[in-house]
């Protein structure tokens, strides 16, 4: 069915983009950039939402957008100054517009009063009243104005359109609007503009002919002697007689609607309406080019004239002499014929180049999944090739190599389809910062860097909440009040820098503020109060900083409505972990805090090292591996606590024996085992002891939580080329557990 549903989907897609555009433009406007381009873009965005909304009959949305648009139009042409209060009102309007769009999408109604206050303010402003002067009559008053203003009178051919208000200078204004019937006399004398706008008397007559019986008489009396004849001169007018039982002055005027002001026109209802027309009736419009006998002309019949012109003025035919129906331009008929011929000539389907297409995400995901399976199959085939086979079937080996390459290329290409610039998330943040700054009375500016960095769409979708939390945290806890900042000798305006960059197989997204940094004394005290850590436990600064990610942790003295409910940062951590990323925090007292999200470029495929622990294969994400060491060469020792440590280049690293950790038996001699040195978030390392290292490969991640349940220390599962299931080791999780164990 539903083309309409398709259009709606397109429309809502477009609305999201336009609303994003509004955010973005206003962020720039707030930053002081009030160039005409910005205002025009804002106007266009609202205009487009209104236009589309109108097409689907979203009345409330359109009404609001219309009022907002009118305000913007006034702002755009300078009638209203874009002062700070007006900007604030506009930003509020953007929110409301988003609400209307959302309501339209979900089929909800916001009620007639929704946004009425703002609309009243728009109307007051456009009436020239200063902002805020408008009182409380937030009722439906603007709706009435809107109705009058927006009724599409011009294409409505129904008789009711006769009541449409005509402008004062309108030459049809004095016509009787009642539906009188009968015999109409119309005088029509085009001006040159009529022709220069590609209007054509013939077409007007054709349309009049649809109303009733039409007689057309060309008045040729103005045609000058040939010597004075100007190619683009206008010498012709017409007298028309229309006999119609149904025609009204309005319906006749309607025909001339497009040429209003470009012609002299009089329409009169003949007295004694039912008299037959005096002149013989010509029902063929072709009659136009058959001139009447020019008894009042300058002694040259039109036929003669045309004939003369043909021979004497070969280059420029008598231009816009209306009688010839546009012969001035390359004759329209022949042009049309030419283009017909062109098309038949094989260029029929030449269209403008398609720049992009929109594809349902499900379809892309199906391709991604299938490519994932293809990767597995390909790696399985490669594994099946033992040395004997390799030696014997060299062509096959070569083929498999090409297959591997192509698969890799296909995978990259598919991932690129899913990739989107982080801009879509970043663009929501200026708004957030502005709101928060207002609520907290702080002065904060947001800088964004690397908006064009591309990342998997799924990752992007999961990014919004964590980023929001992080930025809230920076605004609420990080940046100090202007007074405090002044006292510290810092600039009054705090800065939050939001950046994205690609680093190897990861995307790094950082939120950095120049605030006071994490208050470690307070964090430590709260952590002790809440028994997150033991009373005498000594923690490094970094460990203290990481306590903010502990569940239920909050240092805000008062729980504000911005952040500080104590659910923020642990939610950030768990959300980011869910999409295979990690969070790192670094803070300097008095100088600020930097939180970094490390995210995988893509969710679907992971480069891993395949290891064996006991009888089972495990995989460790390659991105977290620093090096591998044979245990026989490793320098193990004991920490004072008794925990096993590994000494690497003078640094002591926690050791996690995976066999012990996962309670697997049948481990090999320690000397034959391997250490996989991994770097967890924050640059701290953890040494995993495994029984064997098998090799590197790519795996497609399968979620454990979706199919089974979440397991500590395991990030997910995968199916290997030989069909075996391997678990993906969660390096970060193992390290965190270690910390908790110590803490407990």
């Amino acid at each position: 069915m539903s083309d309409l549903d398709d259009f709606k989907a397109t429309f809502f897609d477009e609305c999201s983009e336009l609303l994003g555009e509004l955010e973005e433009q206003f962020a720039a406007i707030e930053a002081g950039d009030r160039t005409a381009n910005r205002l025009n873009a804002v106007f266009r965005a609202v205009h487009s939402i209104k236009g589309g909304g109108g097409a689907f009959g979203f009345v409330e949305m359109v009404a609001f957008a219309h009022a907002y648009e009118t305000l913007l139009d006034h702002v755009r042409d300078g009638r209203i100054e874009l002062s700070d209060p007006v900007t604030v009102l506009c930003i509020r309007a953007n929110d409301l517009l988003a609400d209307f769009v959302k309501a339209a999408r979900t089929g909800a109604s916001l009620g007639p009063g929704y946004g009425a206050d703002e609309r009243a303010q728009f109307d007051a402003l456009t009436r020239g009243e200063p902002i805020g002067s408008h009182g409380g009559d937030a009722g439906g008053a603007p709706m009435d104005e809107f109705d009058i203003d927006f009724v599409p009178v011009m294409v409505d051919l129904a008789p009711s359109a006769a009541a449409a208000p005509a402008p004062a200078e309108d030459s049809f204004a004095n016509l009787p609007l009642t539906a009188e019937r009968g015999h109409w006399e119309i005088h029509f004398a085009p001006h040159s503009e009529l022709y220069s706008r590609a209007n054509d008397p013939l077409l007007l007559f054709r349309e009049l002919g649809n109303l009733g019986e039409l007689t057309v008489t060309a008045k040729l009396g103005e045609i000058p002697p040939l010597a004075d004849f100007e190619p683009y001169g206008i010498y012709c007018s017409w007298e028309l007689t229309l006999v119609s039982p149904t025609a009204t002055a309005a319906s006749i005027a309607e025909v001339f609607e497009f040429v209003e002001g470009n012609c002299d026109l009089s329409i009169a209802l003949l007295a004694g309406a039912n008299n037959p027309p005096a002149e013989p009736t010509l029902d063929e419009l072709a009659a136009l080019v058959m001139p009447p006998v020019a008894d009042d002309g300058p002694g040259l019949s039109f036929a003669d004239l045309a004939e003369t012109l043909k021979t004497e003025a070969p280059v420029r035919a008598p231009a816009a002499a209306p009688i010839l129906l546009r012969p001035a331009e390359p004759a329209p008929m022949s042009a049309a014929e030419e283009s017909d011929a062109d098309r038949r000539g094989g260029e029929a389907d030449r269209r403008t180049a398609v720049q992009s297409i929109r594809v349902d995400l499900d379809k892309v995901d199906r391709v991604v999944n299938m490519v994932g399976e293809l990767v597995i199959t390909q790696s399985m085939l490669t594994q099946q090739m033992d040395d004997t086979l390799r030696a014997r079937y060299q062509e096959l080996v070569r083929g498999l190599e090409v297959l591997a390459q192509t698969t890799r290329g296909l995978q990259d290409a598919v991932m690129a389809i899913r990739a989107q610039p982080v801009k879509s998330v970043f663009s929501r943040m200026p708004r957030l910062v502005r709101d928060l700054a207002q609520k907290t009375g702080k002065k904060i500016k947001l800088e964004t860097i690397g908006e064009a960095t591309e990342i998997d769409k799924t990752v992007i979708e999961q990014l919004s909440d964590p980023l929001t939390h992080m930025i809230r945290n920076s605004c609420d806890h990080g940046i100090e009040t202007p007074e405090a900042r002044r006292a510290l000798g810092k600039p009054e305006i705090g800065t939050i820098r939001l950046s994205a960059e690609q680093a190897g197989g990861n995307i790094l997204i950082a939120v950095e503020d120049d605030g006071g940094g994490i208050n470690r004394d307070r964090v430590l005290q709260v952590a002790r109060d809440r028994l997150v850590i033991g009373p005498d436990q000594q923690l490094t600064e970094e460990q203290i900083d990481n306590l903010i990610f502990a569940p239920g942790f909050s240092t805000a003295t008062e729980v504000s409505d911005i952040s500080g409910r104590g659910v923020g940062m642990d939610v950030v951590l768990s959300n980011i972990k869910k999409i295979g990323g990690s969070v790192h925090v670094r803070s300097r007292t008095g100088q600020g805090t930097r939180m970094t999200l490390r995210l995988p470029l893509t969710l679907a495929v992971l480069d891993v090292m395949l290891v064996r622990v006991g009888p089972s294969p495990y995989v460790v994400p390659l991105s977290s591996i620093v090096e591998t060491i044979q245990c026989s060469r490793a320098d193990f020792g004991r920490a004072p606590s008794g925990a096993k440590v590994l000494r690497v280049r003078g640094e002591y690293v926690q050791v996690v024996d995976l066999a012990e950790r996962f309670e697997l038996t049948g481990g090999a001699e320690l000397a034959n085992r391997f250490v996989v040195l991994c770097e967890a978030e924050g640059g701290t390392k953890v040494a995993l002891v495994v029984d064997d290292i098998i090799g590197q490969q790519q795996v497609v991640i399968k979620s454990l939580e979706e199919n089974f349940e979440s397991i500590d220390g395991i990030a997910g599962g995968t199916i290997l080329g030989d069909g075996n299931v391997a678990l993906i080791v969660d390096v970060q999780g193992l390290k965190a557990q270690k910390l908790h164990k110590n803490a407990a």
């Binding site: 477009e14 487009s48 236009g51 599409p152 497009f258 269209r351």
Partner: protein, 119 residues
Amino acid sequence: MRVLTVDDSRTILAMLHHTLSNAGFEVLQAEDGQKGLDVLATEAVDVVITDINMPVMDGIEFIKNVRASGQHNSLPILILTTETSQDKRDQGRAAGGTGWIVKPFDPEKLISVINRVVH
């Protein structure tokens, strides 16, 4: 019959395309005035439908440019508009617009307006 539709709104372009191709028109599309001019430089069309508010080159400029080229004096150009305030429409007409279509349009009206300005 070929129609060039010029609008920065995908929704409107899609709806025009649907309506016009159902009515047997061949539809060309452009997202702003500049792109519209590019199309006209290489393609023969019978009628143009253009939005007014567009980035890069708006509808008024687009119409002015089409007419100024001298190549398309008799090409009917319909202005798509939601503006009921006369001035936008008048600007469009002064620039050389042949007629206008008020959004939201219904399919029948759209076709009937086109038929008013083409042979």
